[in-house]
Structures are given as structure tokens and as C-alpha cells.
């Protein structure tokens, strides 16, 4: 099967073209030994089987970031693992409105001995500005096939397929390797070549004031740009909380209601009613599937919002407006979006890291997101604050958000010296794409593909973890119970694990098995922390506002009074801080693993648990001394 690489500057429509060509036949993977993601898909131009690779966008093969190194290595034949085989052909995407930088990249690709087909995009935008690109003249000037394509509408795809198929049929031999190090010395030569091509193709820059310029005069004006940006953040926050919540409930109900009922009926017909298998299917497999399905509308909303911001051209303006703020912790301006969304839910926030331009930035933001206090943690704060600080509950809950921001800034400063070392001092030179009206078809395709990726790649781990928790709760450790029965928490393997874990939290004042049991289920979902506390005391869960039944409050107070040695307030604060900082829910962990791989995910989980324990101990010990 022939291998073709898509190469181009950032924001030229490369990924939209890739989605259009490959449809559902694509997988996302990290380049070997990196967190740089790239997509590989199947395409059949003219009936030929082609493996199409969407390489990270770059302005140059003189790489200055891990993403650019991956593109350079693939083009130069220096890749390893699955990237070891050099592509047979590069499709170099040329932005018709920015031919100078696009042609420079094309020159570098060809200098490395890689045959290229030029794909001109943004021709409609260029045409609206009076800049017509004559593909025949351009093809003659660069001595390579040139095809004009509109990835958003699909025009030109057939001609592109025909051109690529013709090339691959005629050239069966793999291209020779090139010397990537020589590219630095050749830069001036390439600049001259680009200038000569623009002259020969009679492409001259007219000084025009575009519609985008007029829009930017308003949208980037200091007293308009910042408030507008804040309004966009607010809207995103609302979308991922208020709008998504009822949809999530509805989707989950379908699985845990009718689907679970049908499964029970089928198992009953097969003679498996009421046993451990029914419990495994309903409380393990279907409960996990319900979690995955319930997050799908949230992810779809998030992906749609991001795609709208990117497709319209506003995302680049977000990066510009927020640059000054995020630079203090060495992050790109776009990082503000996922970090703020994280206060609604960490999962869509992790998904939003894909808007960041480099793998290092994506990883750094991905490591910070778990410290943003999602709304599921709010339920924990409300419950604990109402039990222990009823007169100051509002202030205590507000303070937890302050702690969340402080922990994120502290973690960001640590990352500035490690993961994103050197970032924040780089000059910001950001190409601003023209504003465009988003296309529904391309948006829908992008949203469906990303939701599918989440369901397949994160869903498996979520179901596996749910089944592991089911196992803990279903295995009895005392006599008188059978596997899968409704076992009291204290008598299950879950209760035994919580009791074994409790002494670890003694220095933080909450070395009590009810608390450690709640923290274990908090790893599954933070929403379950309060319900677990109630269950372990054999009581009903509090209402949604976190208002505890008075008996439950009394029992929790009595437990912490004992475990803290007489300082229950300090222990309660320490418990809240631990709940804030330790590992986010399993859904977020699964998404982290999907985006960044196992090593960064396990490092993040380990670091957050250690940080949570240290902070909780400090809070308790200081609180007790005051």
C-alpha cells in the first residue's frame, strides 16, 4: 500500500482535507516516544489503496518544536517505529492567501528528495480579495502538479484523487533520502526561489483592507477584545455545564434504564436471573457503558464549540488576546480555554487541549487541568462545609476555588521549569486566518469522528475500571454473603480496602474508613463521594444541594472528631483540599491516557495524589495548631 503524507502550514485546512478524504477510516496515534499526535487513515484515489498521514502543521522543516520534528523526520525518512517507512509522496497544502510561507515549505520538502503534489486551499478567500491563483501557471513555475481544492465544501477532490493516483501508478520507487541539516544553509536560496515563483505566477500583494480587518478593528480593540473573549469563555462554561447536564442525564438513563431492564429480562430468560452474572452485567458493564454514553453529548457540545471557534477564525484571536495572561505560566494564550472549561468538567477541558499548537503545550495544560475544580467537586465542598462550617459555608466553598487557582498557578510555575522549559519567553508571531462562515457538513463530520474516537479509545478503559470497582464491592470478606449479593460496604472487599487505606490519612486528620471509602469511589466519579459517605453509614444520600440529613452530619462530625484527635474542622478542610487536588475521575484519566499515553497519565495521577496528601497534611497540621 502506498503511503502519502499531508504536509502544510498550520490552519491551511489540512486536517479538514484529511477528514474529507479518509472519512471514518482513520486512527489517532502518538508518534513513537513522543506525545505528538498524528492521524493515519485509509484513502482510495482511483481505486488504489493509500495510507494517508496527517502530519503536524509547520512553517518549516528546520524544526523548533517536537511537533515540527515529527513532520521533518517523516519527510526526511528519519522516522522510527511505525513512521520508519518513508512516504512515497507528499501532498503539500498551499494556502492561496499565504503562498510565500507555503511555497517555502514546499521547497524544503522537495529539497529532501520527496516528490510533491501541491494542493491549493483557501482559493475562495483569496478570490474574494482579488487574488486569483492560476494553477496551470503555478504548476509550470514549480514544476509539479497543482490542484485547487476546497476541503470545507469538497470541490476538487476528484481531480486530486486522479492526480495522486496517476503519480503513484507511474512512480513505484520509494524516494531517495535528503539531508535535513542542510536546510538551514539553503534558507536564503529558498526565499529567492519563492520570490521568483510569485513573480512568474504573477501573484502580487495588493494593499487591501479586508472584511476580516474591519472585524478585527472591532473585535481586537482593547476595550472590546477582552470583554468579548470573557463572554466567549462564559458561554463555553455554560454550554459544558448547564446545557450539557440534562442531555447527559437522558443518555445515561437510556443505558441504566431500558437497556439494563432488557439485559435483566434476557438473563432471566436464560436462567441467570439474580446471580452474580446479572450484577456484573448491570452494575459493572452497563454502568460503565452508561458513563461513557452519558459523556457523549458533553463531548459533542465541546467539540462543536471548538470546531466553531477554529473554523470561524476566532480561535487564533483568543490566543492573541489571552497571550499576556497565560504567558506568566509559560503557556500559549489558547490554554485559557481548556483551563476555564475545566471548572465545569475536566473531561471536555482535556479534549479542548487539541486546540493548542504544540505537543509540549498540550501536555502541560493536560497536566494542569485536573487541578481545576470541576462542578462534581462542588458537591463535596457543599456537604462538608454545611456539616462543619454552617455559618461560613459560602465563604469556605469560594475559598476552595481560590485554592484551585493557586494550585494551578503553582503547578504551572513548576512545569515552566520542566515540561515547557523556555516557553513564555518566545516571541508571539501568530498568523491570523481570515474570518469564515463555518460549514455545517465539515463541522458535523469532525464532531462525529472525535466522539467516535472518545467512545472507542477512552470507553474501554472506563468500562474496565467500573468493573474493577464492581468487583471490589461484590466480593465479600465476611461469611454469610455470596459474590454479587447486596453486601454492606464494611463487609465487602471495598470496605476492607478502605479500612486498610485509612491509616494513610491519619496525619491529615481523616484516617477514618468512611472517608477513605469515599475517596476511593471519588476516583470513579467525584459525584459519588457524598453518596458513598452516606452508604458507609447505612443512610440515604443527601439531596442535590448537599444538605445532609442531621443524623448523617452528626455521624460524620463524630468520626472526624475522633480521627483528628479533637480538631474536626481542620480535618474537614484537609479532606476538602485532598478531594480538590487528588486524581480526577476515571473518565478524565481515561481521556488523558488516550491523549498523552500511559506514562504522562500515571505520572500525573501519582503527582496529584502525592500533592493532595502533602497539602492535606499541611492544612490539617497548621489548622490544628491555630
Amino acid at each position: 500500500m502506498a503511503r502519502v503524507a499531508l504536509v502544510g502550514n498550520p490552519n491551511v485546512g489540512k486536517s479538514t482535507l484529511f477528514n474529507l478524504l479518509t472519512g471514518a477510516w482513520q486512527v489517532t496515534m502518538n508518534a513513537p516516544r513522543t506525545t505528538v499526535s498524528l492521524e493515519i487513515g485509509q484513502w482510495q484515489p482511483g481505486g488504489l489503496g493509500v495510507e494517508l498521514m496527517d502530519l503536524p502543521g509547520t512553517y518549516s522543516l528546520i524544526a523548533q518544536s517536537p511537533d515540527e520534528e515529527v513532520t521533518r523526520d517523516v519527510v526526511a525518512g528519519l522516522g522510527t517505529g511505525i513512521l520508519a517507512r518513508r512516504p512515497d509522496l507528499a501532498m503539500v497544502v498551499l494556502d492561496a492567501t499565504a503562498l510565500s510561507s507555503s511555497l517555502y515549505l514546499l521547497a524544503q520538502v522537495r529539497a529532501l528528495g520527496m516528490p510533491a503534489v501541491a494542493v491549493v486551499t483557501m482559493a475562495d478567500v483569496a478570490g474574494a480579495r482579488g487574488l486569483a491563483v492560476d494553477t496551470a501557471t503555478l504548476a509550470a513555475a514549480i514544476d509539479a502538479p497543482v490542484v485547487t481544492v476546497n476541503p470545507r465544501g469538497g470541490q476538487g477532490i476528484e481531480v486530486l484523487a486522479e492526480t495522486v493516483a496517476d503519480y503513484l501508478m507511474e512512480h513505484r520507487q520509494a524516494p531517495d533520502g535528503g539531508n535535513a541539516e542542510a536546510l538551514v544553509d539553503q534558507a536564503d536560496q529558498f526565499f529567492d526561489w519563492v520570490a521568483s515563483i510569485l513573480d512568474r505566477a504573477e501573484i502580487h500583494h495588493a494593499e487591501t483592507v479586508t472584511a476580516s480587518d474591519k472585524a478585527d478593528r472591532l473585535l481586537l480593540r482593547p476595550w472590546v477584545g477582552v470583554p468579548l473573549f470573557l463572554a466567549v469563555l462564559w458561554a463555553l462554561f455554560q454550554l459544558t455545564t448547564v446545557v450539557a447536564a440534562p442531555l447527559q442525564d437522558g443518555f445515561e438513563w437510556v443505558i441504566t434504564g431500558p437497556v439494563a431492564d432488557a439485559a435483566v429480562w434476557l438473563l432471566g430468560r436464560a436462567g441467570w436471573a439474580g446471580g452474580w452474572l446479572e450484577s456484573l452485567v448491570v452494575d459493572g458493564v452497563l454502568a460503565g457503558a452508561g458513563v461513557v454514553v452519558s459523556f457523549l453529548p458533553l463531548m459533542a457540545i465541546m467539540f462543536a464549540a471548538i470546531a466553531l471557534l477554529e473554523d470561524s477564525g476566532y480561535m487564533a484571536r483568543v490566543a492573541f488576546v489571552a497571550d499576556r495572561l497565560m504567558r506568566t505560566i509559560a503557556l500559549d494564550g489558547r490554554a485559557v480555554l481548556p483551563l476555564v472549561i475545566g471548572f465545569g468538567c475536566n473531561l471536555p477541558a482535556l479534549a479542548a487541549t487539541r486546540t493548542l499548537p504544540s505537543a509540549r503545550q498540550r501536555l502541560a495544560v493536560g497536566l494542569l487541568i485536573p487541578y481545576s475544580s470541576c462542578t462534581a467537586r462542588l458537591v463535596v465542598y457543599l456537604f462538608v462545609a454545611q456539616v462543619f462550617f454552617p455559618r461560613y459555608a459560602g465563604t469556605v466553598v469560594f475559598a476552595m476555588y481560590g485554592v484551585s487557582v493557586a494550585v494551578m498557578v503553582a503547578a504551572g510555575l513548576i512545569l515552566r521549569g520542566t515540561t515547557v522549559r523556555g516557553a513564555g519567553s518566545e516571541p508571539l508571531v501568530l498568523a491570523l486566518p481570515a474570518y469564515q462562515v463555518p460549514r455545517v457538513r465539515a463541522l458535523t463530520r469532525s464532531i462525529l469522528l472525535r466522539c467516535r474516537g472518545f467512545a472507542i479509545h477512552a470507553g474501554g478503559l472506563i468500562v474496565a475500571l467500573t468493573m474493577a470497582v464492581w468487583l471490589l464491592m461484590s466480593v465479600p470478606v465476611t461469611s454469610g454473603y455470596a459474590l454479587g449479593e447486596d453486601i454492606p460496604a464494611r463487609d465487602s472487599l471495598f470496605g476492607a480496602t478502605a479500612q486498610a487505606l485509612a491509616p494513610v490519612f491519619t496525619p491529615a486528620g481523616f484516617g477514618d474508613w468512611h472517608a477513605s471509602a469515599a475517596l476511593i469511589t471519588g476516583f470513579v466519579a467525584k459525584e459519588t463521594v457524598v453518596a458513598t459517605i452516606a452508604t458507609t453509614y447505612g443512610m440515604d444520600a443527601p439531596d442535590d444541594a448537599g444538605a445532609p440529613p442531621s443524623d448523617l452530619g452528626e455521624q460524620v462530625r463524630a468520626s472526624l472528631l475522633q480521627s483528628s484527635g479533637g480538631s474536626p474542622g481542620a480535618a474537614a478542610l484537609a479532606f476538602m483540599v485532598f478531594s480538590l487536588v487528588y486524581t480526577p475521575c476515571m473518565v478524565a484519566v481515561s481521556e488523558m491516557r488516550r491523549l498523552f499515553g500511559w506514562r504522562p497519565t500515571l505520572a500525573s495521577v501519582g503527582a496529584s495524589v502525592v500533592a493532595a496528601w502533602v497539602l492535606a497534611v499541611v492544612v490539617f497540621q497548621v489548622g490544628r495548631a491555630l
Binding site: 512553517y59 510561507s101 494593499e207 490566543a319 499576556r324 508571539l428 508571531v429
Partner: protein, 76 residues
């Protein structure tokens, strides 16, 4: 003069950039080379500038705008 000092709409021929070698090379690669004619199209918050170079638009932070030096071609 620097791009930061340049009034909106005024064309400027770029002379040099007071940046490190890697950043200067990247500027050249995206089209902001010595000799290129640019103009400021928008002053943004925190001292940032949006400049036009042909049909391309680039957003620069305040420090980068101050590091780009050029010669004013005509009055604004």
C-alpha cells in the same frame, strides 16, 4: 522606528529584528523578511499589534512588535 511605534495604516519596510537566531529565521520563513513591506492594521490590548504583510495578517505581542525595526515609507 519599531513596529510598536508605527501608526496604524502606515507602510514600513522591515530592516531587522532584535531577536535570537532561531526566532529571526522563523520570522523570515513566514514571510517577515528584511525588505518586506508591512503595515500595522490594529493596536490590541497589552501593547500587541496586528500587522499586514501582503494578504497575510500576523498578531505580535508587545515585545516582538518592539523588536521589529523598519523604515517608514509614507506618512500615515
Amino acid at each position: 522606528m519599531t513596529i510598536r511605534d508605527c501608526p496604524v495604516g502606515c507602510p514600513v519596510r522591515l530592516d531587522d529584528a532584535a531577536l535570537d537566531d532561531a526566532a529571526r529565521l522563523r520570522m523570515c520563513e513566514i514571510g517577515l523578511r528584511p525588505g518586506a513591506v508591512v503595515r500595522v492594521v490594529q493596536c490590541a490590548a497589552f501593547g500587541g499589534r496586528v500587522i499586514a504583510c501582503g494578504h497575510q495578517r500576523f498578531a505580535l505581542d508587545a515585545a516582538t512588535a518592539a523588536a521589529l525595526r523598519g523604515t517608514q515609507l509614507t506618512a500615515a
